[in-house]
Symmetry: C2
DNA sequence: TTATAGTTGTCAGTGACTGACACACTAGGA
DNA sequence: TCCTAGTGTGTCAGTCACTGACAACTATAA
């Protein structure tokens, strides 16, 4: 029931998304106020005005209330990579595909920063985020692999390596951005990280 | 109590390590037999002949029964990197430092492979492993950073990026090794991954 | 109006983990 | 020899994330 997609655009799906957003936003308020671990699911449920059981009908885990949107971002990322010209080198294409999600972080300023800080200081969230990145990984592989030249026997492996390294660079850059309180420009940080890795 | 180091070599510490090893080995048997999630801590406790509560006095989490030794491997890895000649480039030094832990995996054949397979198919273990890698990361940064040339303002960031990418390559290589049933040579896989990332 | 499908609350239960407490064993000093 | 401090252990009660089952409700479709 948590994974009910239904027909897109249907009324049911619409209200479902609305409730989901309501829960997520209420949860985030509480998390930022008193911490992720310190906030109980029942507490969130009470704040939204529903039973704890029902909250779990909208989010499979407590972590998903924070990271739920990451699946969609992964889809966008894969689509953006797909759109990159075939002439671009793998690294360059990946870097450019990251432009949009990066800008989204940098622009909405305070909100994203608070979120990132919580993410970097809560081990449970870190772990869940890594799982989401693993999903991104799986989405990106089939899009990146065709761009790779060289022996096909190692193509998959090399695609995995590059995607994995790129996402690592993203993590490192976002971490540094978070530590700097959002002052350092995220795109420059990512460029430095990638350049260092390819040195 | 879980983190009691005591004085090294003392009798207490010795018996503690013995009990710990006993629990870990019994747990691993059960995990391989019936799966990680399907095995209860109480079940492990019963098999070892102690109470569930006491098991948690030796391992903070169920995952640690599988991954407990990773902290020590991280220490070894950092020490190995420290020992590499200063003339070596960062990537080369990291690659060489990984030789020993890599060989350990490749040599003991079946055991490590079964473990790696379980690790790659159990999300909870994957997540815990990533946390251990984050610890490795922290250990490696101060050892690698001094090797980096270039502006000191971005030295930390670049160190983070390279270490993170290297550990990603390790993950990718081990995954492929696992998928191949341990047939493909691990060192070659790692070399390919690193070369792809630096391309 | 009625069948149907989806949503909800309640309740009972599992399993990882924690704190508190009382008890047992062991080594060292008086 | 007795006493004491340190340490390991079982038991018990409790928290919290999460799940399955069921009955009640509601909105829509025929």
């Amino acid at each position: 029931m948590v994974n009910t997609p239904a027909r897109r655009g249907g009324l049911r799906e619409l209200t479902r998304r609305a409730v989901q957003a309501e829960i997520a936003s209420t949860a985030m308020e509480l998390f930022l106020e008193q911490g992720f671990e310190e906030t109980t699911v029942d507490q969130i449920a009470a704040a939204v005005g529903m039973s704890g059981r029902s909250v779990f009908r909208y989010f499979a885990t407590k972590e998903d209330m924070v990271l739920g949107e990451m699946r969609a971002i992964g889809d966008d990322l894969a689509a953006a990579l797909q759109r990159r010209p075939a002439s671009e080198e793998p690294w360059e294409a990946l870097r450019r595909a990251l432009d949009e999600p990066l800008a989204a972080l940098d622009s909405d300023g305070g909100k994203a920063l608070a979120r990132a800080t919580m993410l970097s200081t809560t081990p449970a969230l870190r772990a869940a985020q890594q799982q989401k990145h693993a999903q991104w990984h799986e989405l990106l592989i089939p899009v990146l692999a065709p761009r790779l030249k060289g022996p096909s026997s190692t193509r998959e492996l090399r695609a995995h390596a590059i995607v994995s390294a790129a996402l690592s660079c993203l993590d490192v850059a976002v971490d540094e951005w978070t530590r700097s309180g959002g002052t350092k420009p995220l795109d420059r940080l990512l460029d430095s990280a990638i350049q260092a890795v390819r040195s």
